[in-house]
């Protein structure tokens, strides 16, 4: 966004995001929900939901390069899914979306320009998606499942999530570059931490 980081613009949320940025991040959440609803109707492949989820988390970070942008998208998706009754796992939906989003922001904190690199994007996307597989682990552990089985199952699920997330992350740097070239988003990372 051209002048999103203009100092004259009033901060709307967390003394960090302007109203325009907040609404744009809300739209990223809209796209994740639309993609989830669409995929639910057509595909039944395990882990495929991470394809668009991670794509929009990374794109949110690329378009609004501030710490917390992916987390805000995660929070909005969780709340909207909860309100729309889309989370079959009930309140666990918050962990499901916030955990990978937080990891994207952590990566953004240490490597502010990671969305410019295809390799970095794939790595961050795959790792964040794989970590989401941990959201079920504590329930299985409390249910008395054996540690070895939990580990094996988590590896299978995490691999599928990481595969789909990695595929979608490949496209993020080129889209961010094209948006920047057309002056639709600001140039480079913001160090607002």
């Amino acid at each position: 966004m051209n002048d999103m980081n203009d100092m004259n613009e009033r901060k709307f949320l967390w003394r960090r995001f302007t109203l325009r940025e907040g609404i744009f991040l809300g739209f990223c959440a809209t796209f994740i929900i639309l993609a989830r609803a669409g995929l639910r109707l057509h595909l039944h492949l395990p882990g495929h939901v991470m394809f668009f989820t991670m794509f929009f988390f990374l794109l949110a970070r690329g378009c609004v390069p501030k710490i917390g942008s992916a987390t805000l998208v995660g929070l909005i998706v969780s709340l909207a899914s909860f309100l729309l009754g889309m989370g079959t796992k009930g309140p666990v939906v918050f962990v499901k979306f916030l955990l990978p989003a937080l990891l994207v922001d952590v990566a953004g904190y240490f490597f502010p320009n990671f969305v410019n690199s295809m390799v970095a994007c794939v790595l961050v996307g795959a790792v964040s998606a794989a970590v989401r597989a941990l959201s079920d682990t504590w329930i299985e552990w409390l249910s008395g499942m054996e540690g070895e089985i939990i580990l094996q199952k988590t590896i299978i699920t995490a691999s599928l999530f990481a595969f789909y997330a990695g595929l979608s992350a490949l496209a993020v740097p080129s889209i961010v570059r094209r948006l920047r070239r057309n002056g639709l988003i600001d140039q480079g990372a913001d160090d607002t931490r």
């Binding site: 959440a29 729309l84 989370g87 079959t88 249910s143 089985i149 889209i175």
Partner: protein
Amino acid sequence: MTHDSPVHRLGAGWKIAICTLLSALAIGVRTPLELLALVAVTLLYYFSARLTPFDLWRDTRFFVFQAVIIIGLYCLKIGQSKGLWPGIRTSVQVILFYIPGAVLLRTTKTGDMMRGLRRVVPYRISFLVFVSIRFMPFFFRELDEIMTAQRLRGARLLPRQLLDPRNWGDLFHCLLLPLMVRALKTAEDVSLSAEAREFGTREQRTYFDAALHTEPLSPESGKQCSITPSLLQPCGDMNRINIRD
């Protein structure tokens, strides 16, 4: 699915309490008898909400894949005869853990959940959540229009074409890129519109109280009613009304 049942009529707080209790019990059960009893209670709760077996399948089908993996791994590790029961038990426990949450979501009105969320979620985040939900039909239409236009230009965006990973470039560059451009422009318009109404200038939420418009004035007073400043008043000060001679 019927939208009226004893479970529908329960308060959201009660449903959350039942959900927490049943989910905690699902984690705690170990013996076949306990598990059977819990399955019966959970199903009774589910079907007392007048939900159908098809609804149950829709709510639990995502766990079928997990159950297959868990049972398979147990059988591989400790043999088919010994591994079958712990595999089934754990899978059923995981499914039972999530069913009460599904009932909560299916039987609680969005308005009730919003009221509950309002107590814990700041109004600025609530605003973004509702903007996100409000714009779903808009972006769905946009998506459809962009897809049609790009298909006419030769982009390979038909569902069967998108099964081929070689066409995913078209998905990203012909569909998602224009959609992001549209989102950026719409965000700008919406924020300008909201800022023009001084939205977000106060720490507390402000709102327009329509009731102030309909408040009757005594006919003999001959006074005019204006409510201009009230648009910017925090919730507690909304009863203010200016009467001009």
